[in-house]
C-alpha cells in the first residue's frame, strides 16, 4: 500500500514539474478564466439580474471549462514519445497511475479556482470574505469529482485523433451531477444564507464524488487496453 501511494505521488510530482516547466495549460486556463469573467461581466445587465444570481453560474462555467484544459493535458504529456508505455511497463499499479494523474489535475484545478474565485468577487463586487472558507470547501469537493471524471476520459480520449473535441463531449455530461449541487450550494452561500441551508446539496455533491471516484478508479485500467 505504501508503494501504491509513493508511485501515485511520484507521478503527480512529475506531472506538476512538467506543467511548472512549460506552464502552457495553466496559463491558457488562467487567460480563459479571466476572459470569460470579463465577457460575462460586459454581457451582464445589472438591472435585470442581480450579481449574486449570476456569479455562481459564471464561476462554475469557468471551473468546468478551464478544468478541462488541465485534464486534457493530464494524459497529453504522455503522448509525444509514448511515455505512457514507460508508465504501463513500470511496476506502478494502474490505479496508482490514475491517482497520480488525478492528484496533479486536482492541484491544477484548485490553482485555477484560487485565481477565479477572487476575480469573480472583484468583478461582481461580491463580499466573499465571510463565505470564503465554505466556498473553498465546495470548490474543493467539486474539484475532486470533476478531476475523477476528467482523468478517466482524458485517458480514453488521448489516443484518438480528436482528443481535444472528444474529452469535453465525453466528460461534460458526467460533470453535470457535480456542477448542479456545487452551483446550488455556491448560490446559497453567496446570497448570505447559512451553511446549514446548503447541506443537502453538499451531501449530494459528496455522494457523487464517492460514486465517481470508485467508478472511475475501477474503469480506468480498461481505458489502457488496446
Amino acid at each position: 500500500m505504501r508503494e501504491f501511494f509513493r508511485d501515485a505521488w511520484l507521478i503527480a510530482r512529475k506531472d506538476l514539474a512538467i506543467e511548472f516547466r512549460t506552464r502552457s495549460a495553466f496559463f491558457s486556463a488562467v487567460v480563459f478564466s479571466l476572459l470569460a469573467i470579463v465577457i460575462f461581466y460586459f454581457a451582464w445587465d445589472a438591472t435585470a439580474v442581480a450579481a449574486i444570481d449570476l456569479a455562481p453560474g459564471v464561476l462554475w462555467v469557468i471551473f468546468t471549462f478551464s478544468g478541462l484544459l488541465g485534464m486534457h493535458r493530464s494524459f497529453g504529456v504522455e503522448q509525444p514519445d509514448r511515455a505512457i508505455d514507460g508508465l504501463l511497463a513500470s511496476p506502478a499499479a494502474r490505479e496508482s497511475i490514475f491517482l497520480g494523474k488525478a492528484i496533479a489535475s486536482l492541484v491544477f484545478v484548485l490553482a485555477i479556482q484560487a485565481i477565479a474565485i477572487p476575480a469573480v468577487g472583484l468583478f461582481y463586487n461580491l463580499p466573499l470574505g465571510d463565505v470564503a472558507a465554505p466556498l473553498a470547501g465546495i470548490a474543493f469537493l467539486a474539484a475532486i469529482g470533476l478531476v475523477a471524471v476528467g482523468t478517466l476520459f482524458s485517458a480514453m480520449a488521448v489516443n484518438t485523433r480528436l482528443a481535444e473535441l472528444l474529452l469535453p463531449m465525453l466528460a461534460l455530461p458526467f460533470f453535470v451531477p457535480i456542477v448542479i449541487p456545487a452551483a446550488q450550494a455556491t448560490a446559497k452561500l453567496m446570497s448570505g444564507r447559512p451553511v446549514g441551508d446548503a447541506v443537502a446539496w453538499l451531501k449530494l455533491l459528496i455522494a457523487f464524488d464517492l460514486v465517481f471516484i470508485v467508478a472511475c478508479t475501477l474503469a480506468y485500467p480498461f481505458t489502457l487496453e488496446e
Binding site: 511520484l10 512529475k14 504529456v77 508505455d85 504501463l88 488496446e226
Partner: protein, 240 residues
C-alpha cells in the same frame, strides 16, 4: 535456448489480433538467463507487438507469456524485472535526462535512485547533457537516455526494440557494451532490429519473423552470417 521452466521469458502460442489482422501468430519461444534472442523481420512483421506483449503493455488475444514462473501481465514484481527500450524514447521532453532516469529509478523502487541514474547516464556516455531538457537533445542522444532509463534498475530481462536507431558510433558501442555486460550478469535479452550485423553480434540465438510468425529460429553458433543476412534481405524484398 531455454525450453524448460528455467527460462527468464517464455511464450506459449502467443497470438495477438488487431481487428481482423493477426499481428502475432502462434509464437512459442523461450530465452534463458545470459541469452540474447535477436529477432529480425520486415516492417509490420509483428516484432514490436511481440515485445509489447512480453513487456505487459499489451494483452495477447490468445496464448500466454511468462516471466520466470509468473504469467503476464503479472504484477508489480514481474514488471520490476523488465527493462524496455522502445523505438519511441518513452521520455518526457520537458524534463532533463537526469530527471527522466531518476523518475524511472524511483518508480522501479531503486534505492539510491539519484546515484543509480547518474551511473546509468554515465554508462551511455550522456552524463554531460544530463541537465539539458530532453526536447533539446538530438535523436541519438534521446536514444542514449532512453537506454539509461530502461536499464537503471538492472533488469533481468531487457526488451529492446530497434535500440541502435539514431545512435552514432560512440553511442552504439556504449549500448553494445551495456547489453553485453547485462547479459554477462545473467540478464536475458530480446532484441528486435533490422541491422543484422549488430543483432548477430549480441545474439546467442537469432530468429526471423514474418507475418506474425517466427519462420526461422537458430542458435547463433549454427548461423552463417552472410547466408542469414541474404535470407533476411530476400524476405524484406519479397514483402516490399
Amino acid at each position: 535456448m531455454q525450453s524448460g521452466g528455467g527460462a527468464v521469458v517464455a511464450t506459449e502460442n502467443l497470438t495477438r489480433n488487431f481487428g481482423p489482422r493477426r499481428a502475432v501468430d502462434d509464437v512459442t519461444v523461450a530465452v534463458g538467463a545470459g541469452e540474447a534472442l535477436a529477432i529480425f523481420g520486415p516492417n509490420g512483421a509483428g516484432k514490436t507487438t511481440l515485445l509489447r506483449m512480453l513487456g505487459g503493455i499489451l494483452r495477447p488475444s490468445s496464448g500466454r507469456a511468462r516471466i520466470g514462473d509468473v504469467y503476464m501481465p503479472g504484477g508489480s514484481e514481474v514488471r520490476r524485472r523488465i527493462g524496455i527500450v522502445s523505438h519511441h524514447s518513452l521520455l518526457y521532453d520537458a524534463l532533463t535526462p537526469r530527471e527522466n532516469v531518476e523518475f524511472a529509478a524511483r518508480l522501479y523502487g531503486v534505492s539510491n535512485a539519484r546515484e543509480k541514474a547518474e551511473r546509468a547516464l554515465s554508462a551511455m556516455q550522456i552524463l554531460d547533457r544530463a541537465d539539458t531538457p530532453v526536447r533539446s537533445l538530438s535523436r541519438g542522444m534521446k536514444q542514449r537516455v532512453s537506454v539509461a532509463r530502461a536499464t537503471v534498475h538492472d533488469p533481468e530481462l531487457v526488451l529492446a526494440d530497434e535500440p541502435f536507431t539514431g545512435l552514432d558510433v560512440i553511442g552504439s558501442k556504449a549500448l553494445s557494451a551495456l547489453l553485453t555486460d547485462l547479459k554477462a550478469r545473467g540478464a536475458a535479452l530480446v532484441l528486435v532490429t533490422h541491422n543484422v550485423d549488430e543483432g548477430l553480434s549480441l545474439a546467442t540465438h537469432a530468429a526471423i519473423m514474418n507475418r506474425g510468425r517466427l519462420v526461422r529460429t537458430e542458435p547463433r553458433s549454427e548461423i552463417d552470417s552472410a547466408g542469414f543476412a541474404r535470407q533476411y534481405e530476400e524476405l524484406v524484398a519479397s514483402n516490399a
